[in-house]
Symmetry: C2
């Protein structure tokens, strides 16, 4: 059902002709209210695509009614003309829905540096408006229209303890898939919440889920996570409850993104414990998850603790204090490294399951953090080296 | 000629039986004097192999007479027993050469986590001592005995403006080659210099050469660069002259390491200009050089400026201030990106030469820095995923 699971939302996903193939490439999500609460988190990349620049200012007041999302082009690095295209899109959708352009958020995903085919975008917006529907199929259509290199649509439905509903759709897999596979997420809820609560809950949910996918700590130019609240359930939801349910929905979507990373043969969960702080644990987890040598070893079904330990050792002391001689490493439950040296024989580790668990205990404190990434495979190289503009 | 090019040095390279193959695996370099000046720079990785721990304290007084280097095992993550092995090696070589163990530096390269076969190491040390020779062949033998995944030995000879000689040998390619391909470098000179001058000159030379190879800013557990000065030429060399000639020798060796990176099909030179500081330029260069998407694009002969710009955009504002809309990118001399957007057609870029020049102008200042790396290829994945302990 996706974004139409909660009450008060309509969705559509159609083929507007933006993509050269005939595939669906334009999605529209409308919040019918009574509330028009909105929150969004955007990429930390300083190169911000036109839609990100637009949406950032449009959602700053905590209010929005609609999101228009296109695949087939990122509209990034397209200068003032590209921004004008996004502005025009928001104005057009606003007019079609009889709402302010400032209440229309815009997301784009695809190739960098090329202008969007605006005839297709604007014409498609009208078709999408005409196709808006509150049903499950419409939600599914929208989730497919935002796909680029995804092989499956990613959707989720969660009900909060108080009975409010949360729906969501996502695309992309961090930086792993080709063309920077922008991560786009739209979460909807019929809970009654204020803009402030929605904003803080979204940020907290994103922090430990979407922000923990992949290893580069380097987002694309277009990454966007949006939350829309209609209040249509009439159920008031507190900040903690909303944050927890959003986290649950986000964690499920984030896990789906990792599982669909193109070219990957393993989903690698790096869990660092025994750190002096969460920040320290995260720095070590990212360094391990970012290591090509670690990820290539996983691809080769090799529980190479030496490379894991060496990657951890590259984190500066001031960022993550720990004694290398106190480090312990488990791979898929087998303690291959203890007190900084060899322990159980690596032949005891079964690396064949897709999910690989790498646990590193720094032995320096009580904090922990985790990162999800994928292995470095031939398919990854193949897909990311084929000519792409 | 390598390390025997300057006066006052003997070298040897033999097969001690450390490597399972019959290949040469033990090198010895002896400084006959009259000076016994020494300086060294070690890995910044906090996981330090036993030989690094030993050599760091042995060279702290600015003096050393010999270096013993083995391939076939890194002696890293081997605990107190591993350190005892290194200590024993230094004592043994010291006894053989009739010098103090504290004047013997030790380097090792190979697999992490395994103890060295000490019978072979100690027995081999005697054979190496017996093979010591001042000639060109001995220098060449030593340069071969330190090779692991290198396909060719790397040596250099430089004469300073005042006529003093510098010789050198190197192995490894940063983090690119399998098994963490430790970088080991031994530089020798017959210049008359003090320990302080040698130390500062070596650090300055290393900073803009060896430290600029590869992209991970993540060194192996064993990286070591050593400088020995015999003073045998009788030629006093000032700090600036030594630093410049050392830089020249180091740059040549560093370039050879990049060119021999296993599995690579392109040597990528990332040059960032127009930065507010060298630190800022370096941060941007490293982020670009570290990007798998950039390196995969190079492998595919694709001058993908969008990925380059996106990588630069991941550097925090406080580290490297610049306006993304002012960025310019040239690939092999063609300006594919100007003012943050598309410019010359990418089809104009000839990516077929092995050397790829990526120039990024941030338009924010006058500082610059460069990094050398390689492309991400199928061979890299293959070599780094094959089972290795």
């Amino acid at each position: 059902m996706s974004v139409t699971f909660p009450e008060g939302f309509l969705a559509a996903g159609i083929a507007a002709g933006i993509k050269k193939s005939a595939a669906a490439d334009l999605a529209l999500v409308l919040n019918e209210g009574p509330l028009d609460v909105a929150a969004a988190v955007f990429t930390s990349n300083r190169v911000q695509a036109a839609p990100v620049q637009w949406s950032r200012q449009a959602v700053a007041d905590g209010r929005a009614r609609a999101v228009i999302l296109n695949s087939g082009g990122a509209n990034a690095c397209t200068g003032p003309e590209g921004f004008a295209d996004t502005h025009r899109t928001a104005e057009h959708v606003g007019a079609l829905l009889e709402i302010s352009a400032q209440d229309v958020l815009v997301c784009s995903t695809g190739l960098i540096g090329e202008r969007l085919p605006m005839d297709a975008v604007l014409g498609g917006a009208m078709s999408a408006r005409d196709a808006l529907d509150p049903g499950a199929d419409a939600g599914a259509d929208a989730s497919r229209a935002i796909m680029t290199t995804d092989t499956v649509p990613k959707t989720v439905e969660v009900t909060t303890p108080s009975g409010a509903r949360i729906g969501g759709m996502a695309k992309g897999a961090g930086m792993l898939a080709p063309q920077l596979a922008t991560m786009l997420v739209v979460l909807t809820t019929d809970a009654v919440v204020t803009a402030d609560v929605a904003d803080s809950a979204l940020r907290e949910a994103t922090r430990t889920t979407f922000d923990r996918v992949d290893s580069d700590a380097c987002m694309s130019t277009n990454d966007t996570v949006i939350l829309l609240a209609s209040g249509a359930s009439g159920i008031e939801v507190g900040a903690a409850e909303l944050a927890e349910s959003l986290r649950e929905a986000s964690a499920a979507l984030a896990r789906m993104l990792v599982a669909d990373a193109e070219g990957a043969s393993h989903d690698v969960h790096v869990v660092v414990t025994g750190a002096t702080s969460e920040h320290a644990a995260l720095a070590v987890a990212r360094e391990i998850a970012r290591s090509n040598l670690v990820k290539a070893a996983v691809f080769g079904n090799d529980p190479n603790w030496g490379r894991i330990v060496s990657a951890a050792g590259c984190v500066p002391e001031e960022v993550a204090p720990f004694d290398p001689d106190a480090m312990s490493v488990h791979v898929n439950g087998v303690q291959v490294c203890r007190e900084g040296g060899a322990h159980e024989d690596r032949s005891l580790v079964d690396m064949t399951p897709r999910e690989t668990l790498v646990e590193v205990d720094l032995g320096a404190g009580e904090a922990d953090a985790d990162i999800w990434t994928n292995d470095l495979t031939h398919d990854y190289v193949e897909e990311n080296s084929a000519y792409s503009s």
